[in-house]
């Protein structure tokens, strides 16, 4: 592989690494799995990089490839985290103003998201990233209508999960 391409790739990835971290945060529940998934995404991105033609922004391309990696890994390795204790799933969330009650709610929310399936998590990621439904549909290979329906179901599902835990 061309070393200049590698230098360029490493620089771009370093700048945009939070995209990968955020996906890892939704798909994994501990630091070890976070690192593993991050590494898998980096390797996948690197292998796909020669095909990246710059039609879209690096960040857009990177989140799509990374999300696909997370989905396929989740499927092949069956990295189910449904057994993770709700209390264990905290990833040191830092706020401008510390609010223990809100922190607790966020902890519950992240844990609830991690209980969703691979595609649902991808939908949540794109929703949080404020992607429009056209892009969500295109990325996941589903219709726009289907994406909306799925998103509404996810919201209800999360609401119910939180309700059961006495959260938000």
């Amino acid at each position: 592989m061309n070393p200049h391409l590698e230098i360029e790739f490493v620089e771009l990835l370093e700048e945009n690494q939070n995209i990968l971290h955020k996906i890892c945060k939704l798909y994994t529940a501990d630091m070890e799995s976070h690192k593993d998934l991050f590494q898998e995404m980096v390797i996948q991105l690197w292998h796909s990089y020669p095909k990246f033609k710059g039609d879209s922004k690096f960040s857009t391309w990177a989140y799509r490839v990374s999300l696909n990696t997370a989905i396929s890994l989740y499927r092949t390795k069956k990295r189910s985290i449904t057994t993770v204790d709700w209390e264990d799933s905290l990833h040191n969330i830092r706020y401008e103003e510390y609010d223990p009650q809100q922190e607790e709610q966020l902890k519950l929310l992240y844990a609830a998201v991690r209980q969703l399936d691979d595609i649902e998590k991808a939908l949540v990621y794109m929703y949080l990233e404020e992607k429009d439904y056209t892009e969500i549909a295109e990325t996941l290979g589903i219709s726009e209508g289907n994406a909306r329906v799925k998103m509404n179901r996810i919201k209800t599902k999360i609401r119910n999960m939180l309700h059961e835990k006495g959260g938000v």
Binding site: E6, V10, Q17, H21, F38, L106, L109, K155, I158, G167
Partner: protein, 201 residues
């Protein structure tokens, strides 16, 4: 407020992630080295098992007591050396898998290649010596039994040709299996060197 909306509010603010630097990203890209070394390690173990099974299945020649002792000592020494190589491959695999810097990765790739090459040389030399000594010993023994005073030169010459053929096959086998893996490691190493130069420029 809807659960996800609360999450959304905090999503962009949350920047508390481990910072992965360029060096670490590069190390991740060259992770393939660890899987190559893992394969070298696995193949060397398979080879050891197959070699042991093969030697156990061979008919035992009617050696006298001294010869048997010598043979056993040689065998034990041989297996100790093989075990040493396998342990080295395993420790190198562990090091490559967990090391943190590209420099360390490069050093370990060089080490693995060196150990790999020594392992191949050792196996070829031992095979040649064992095959030759065993064959020539057999020829001389049978000539002695027949009471033939003339040295069976022709039989020895034919046997040496057969040995050369077997050694050539063995070299081919090693080139095919280990050579391929070691070349991949070399390529990976060269990429790292080019990269280092590229960064310095």
């Amino acid at each position: 407020m809807d659960g996800l909306d609360l999450l959304k509010q905090h999503w962009d603010k949350d920047q508390n992630f481990p910072k992965i630097d360029k060096e670490e990203i590069r190390r991740m890209l060259h992770k393939s080295s660890s899987s190559i070394v893992k394969w070298i390690f696995i193949i060397s173990i398979i080879e050891l098992i197959l070699g042991t099974l093969f030697s156990l299945s061979m008919p035992i020649a009617p050696f006298n007591e001294t010869e048997t002792i010598v043979l056993n000592i040689v065998s034990v020494m041989f297996y100790l050396v093989i075990l040493y190589f396998i342990t080295r491959f395993f420790t190198l695999y562990r090091k490559i898998k967990v090391n943190d810097s590209v420099k360390q990765l490069m050093e370990n790739i060089i080490r693995t290649r060196r150990v790999g090459q020594s392992y191949i040389k050792f196996n070829i030399i031992i095979f040649t010596l064992a095959f030759m000594s065993g064959g020539i010993y057999g020829i001389l023994e049978s000539a002695n039994k027949d009471g033939d005073p003339v040295l069976p030169t022709f039989a020895i010459a034919v046997f040496l040709c057969i040995t050369a053929l077997f050694v050539a096959l063995l070299i081919f086998f090693y080139r095919l299996i280990y050579g391929r893996l070691l070349r991949k490691l070399k390529k990976n190493y060269e990429e790292l060197i080019e990269l280092e130069d590229g960064i310095k420029e």
